[in-house]
Amino acid sequence: MSLKTKKKKGKKKTSRIQPFKFLEKIAIADAAFEAYGKTLEELFVNCAKATFDVMADLETVTPNQAETVKLENKTVEDLLFDWLAELIYLKDYKAMLFKEFSVKVQKNTNYILEGEARGENINQSKHNLRTDVKAVTYHLFEVKKAYRLWKAKVILDI
């Protein structure tokens, strides 16, 4: 997936922005990433993709089963934390790897998330597995919006 930026000086120019990138210089024993999105929904999807990219080569995962997620929290930060924590819980409980995600976030009194994660049961002979994620941490955890781009920093416990 790529995000397109606005053209410069009248010339049509697109530059690809990574949906996420891993940060190597912090929390070296764990996995830290920064994810981006033009919308809050896209940010949540990209954070989920980064989380599962730590666990497996998602090219080897077929999205043939879905799990639905409904969450509510007071802040965007806490909602993102809950979303990733819920997916990590489902990974163990349902023994699944997720590859595709759709998310709808609404602001009422609280922020409300309705989402779906699609993937399949973990199969060691089919999936190119990487390292398990134990938990999402609050260490240096942040969600920001700058220049119309949402950005989140997340450290996962490995």
């Binding site: 891993f22 190597e24 210089k25 912090i26 929390a27 070296i28 024993a29 764990d30 996995a31 666990m55 497996a56 806490d78 934390f81 809950d82 924590a85 990590i88 819980y89 990974k91 163990d92 409980y93 023994a95 699944m96 790897l97 973990i122 060691q124 190119n128 597995l129 990487r130 390292t131 398990d132 134990k134 938990a135 999402v136 941490t137 609050y138 260490h139 240096l140 955890f141 450290i155 416990d157 490995i158």
Partner: protein
């Protein structure tokens, strides 16, 4: 470095309270000049954050294998008053009661080497490892709740262990005070099918040989079961799996709200905490002990599977093969222990996150079979460099709240390790050195390459010189199994 740090004595470095607003006690980082110089800045920042937590006693400590974690540094030790002090999930880690087990055999390198590939295949099959793996013990929710309370006792009653295993486990494999009603449904669902599994990351199971020329304390080595040259041991490292991880996550959220109510301010959300005596603090402690007991049970079931595998491959009873547990230590936990504070004996809540208890001779907490010599301390090194068995000391009780190092400590990010070596290449290199590898993930294997860690000898020499534990013997891997 951002902070002024001075050497108190050889191997002990101190950051005074004047270095950060809110520090209640100094921070002490242990290590040789080389280890301190190479330690990442995150350690110093995190250990000084810990020094700000309410009710902390004497010092916030970091062991010589310390590295940047989340909340507390890995290698962090902190003790808190029971009444006015706090309990923090970030001071224990998500993998509650992650720990080490060491098992002896009556076999020698010469006897095991010809059957090593077959043996590792068998164990690899019997002890599931890797992302989302499930164990072979099928439990009902009620049985899982029994495990939360009974720990290793449940395993022994259900045929997954020997009676004598119990006296070779920290806290005898069962800590009183577990409260299953304080555990969420999510945690129960997440952990119920994972009993007897190894996990992933830096968790491993190794077949090791004791190096005859690297026995530093022969009397202790003999008490711990060394009785022949080139003797084979089995060491493994794992914890409470998804169950503990979920309890950590659940209470991190609960404590976030509780802190506002109790007016506690912290420098990192991952240091979320609650007064130990508060309802939230007591609930977490009760839930944390459920995970601690389940981790003891997890390692016990793994030991059972190892015994079965050896028995099948060598066609002898596990008893005949001498597959006795040497010891089981926790290195991610909080426990109530007694220390002298201002000349008075006081019960404290000691948090150890990537640190091992190191109790010396004649302490009543040490199992009777080892009481004269002290508690075994198992320090796992990287898969290329080997591991150490040490013994606890009275000095640790005086200086470090009865604590020492737990491993060698990472120095390189996982991505950098992957860039430096491919998993298949590393496997080939290690097999040339005589170390047979079985790994679910080749990239996971590359992340655990020896060069990504500190020199374990330097770490172990540091704790030995400081006197907070004493080297007994060195073990080298000949077979490594990873998730």
């Amino acid at each position: 470095m951002q902070y002024k740090i001075h050497k108190v004595k050889e191997g002990v470095w101190e950051i005074p309270t004047s270095e950060k607003e809110g520090m209640l006690v100094p921070a002490r980082v242990l290590g040789t000049d080389k280890l301190i110089k190479e330690m990442d800045d995150g350690v110093f920042n995190q250990v000084t954050n810990v020094a700000c937590l309410p009710g902390i006693q004497k010092y916030a400590l970091c062991m010589p294998d310390g590295h940047w974690g989340y909340g507390f540094p890995i290698g962090g030790v902190a003790a808190f008053e029971l009444e006015k002090g706090v309990i923090s999930p970030g001071g224990i880690g998500f993998d509650i009661n992650c720990g080490m087990r060491l098992v002896k055999t009556n076999l020698t390198l010469e006897e095991v080497q010809p059957k090593l590939p077959q043996l590792l295949d068998k164990i690899f099959y019997s002890v599931p490892a890797g992302v989302g793996c499930k164990g072979f013990v099928k439990l009902t929710p009620n049985q899982f709740r029994e495990i939360m309370v009974e720990g290793v006792d449940w395993c022994i009653e259900n045929g997954y262990g020997w009676k004598e295993d119990k006296e070779r486990i920290e806290e005898y494999g069962r800590i009183a005070g577990a409260k299953p009603d304080k555990v969420s449904k999510h945690a129960l669902q997440r952990g119920m099918e994972q009993l007897g599994t190894l996990g992933s990351g830096n968790h491993y199971l190794e077949v090791q040989v004791a190096l005859t020329d690297q026995v530093y304390y022969p009397e202790a080595a003999q008490v711990f079961g060394l009785d022949r040259p080139n003797q084979i041991f089995i060491m493994f490292h794992c914890g409470s799996r998804g169950f503990g991880h979920q309890i950590g996550t659940d209470y991190l959220r609960i404590f976030g709200d509780a802190m506002r109510r109790y007016g506690i301010k912290i420098l990192d959300r991952e240091l979320a905490c609650a007064p130990f005596s508060s309802p939230e603090g007591q609930d977490y402690f009760g839930a944390m002990l459920c995970a601690a007991n389940s981790a003891f049970a997890n390692r016990q079931v793994i030991l059972h599977r190892i015994r079965e595998a050896f028995s099948e491959v060598f066609k002898k009873d596990p008893q005949e093969l001498g597959l006795d547990l040497v010891y089981d230590v926790c290195h991610n936990i909080a426990k109530i222990e007694e220390y002298q504070i201002n000349g008075q004996s006081q019960k404290l809540l000691v948090h150890r996150k990537g640190s091992t208890r190191s109790f010396g001779p004649n302490r009543p907490e040490v199992t009777e079979i080892y009481r004269k010599i002290g508690q075994p301390v198992i320090v796992g090194g990287s898969m290329e460099t080997g591991s150490f068995l040490l013994v606890g000391t009275e000095t640790a009780h005086q200086e470090t709240f009865g604590s020492t190092c737990h491993g060698s400590g990472r120095t390189m990010s996982r991505a950098e390790a992957r860039r430096k070596v491919r998993g298949t290449e590393l496997k080939e290199k290690m097999e040339k050195k005589g170390i047979v590898i079985r790994s679910v993930s080749m990239s996971g294997l590359a992340e655990e390459a020896g060069f990504a860690y500190k020199d374990i000898s330097e770490v172990v020499d540091a704790v030995d010189s400081l006197g907070i534990s004493k080297k007994v013997l060195q073990l080298k891997p000949i077979g490594n199994l990873k998730g």
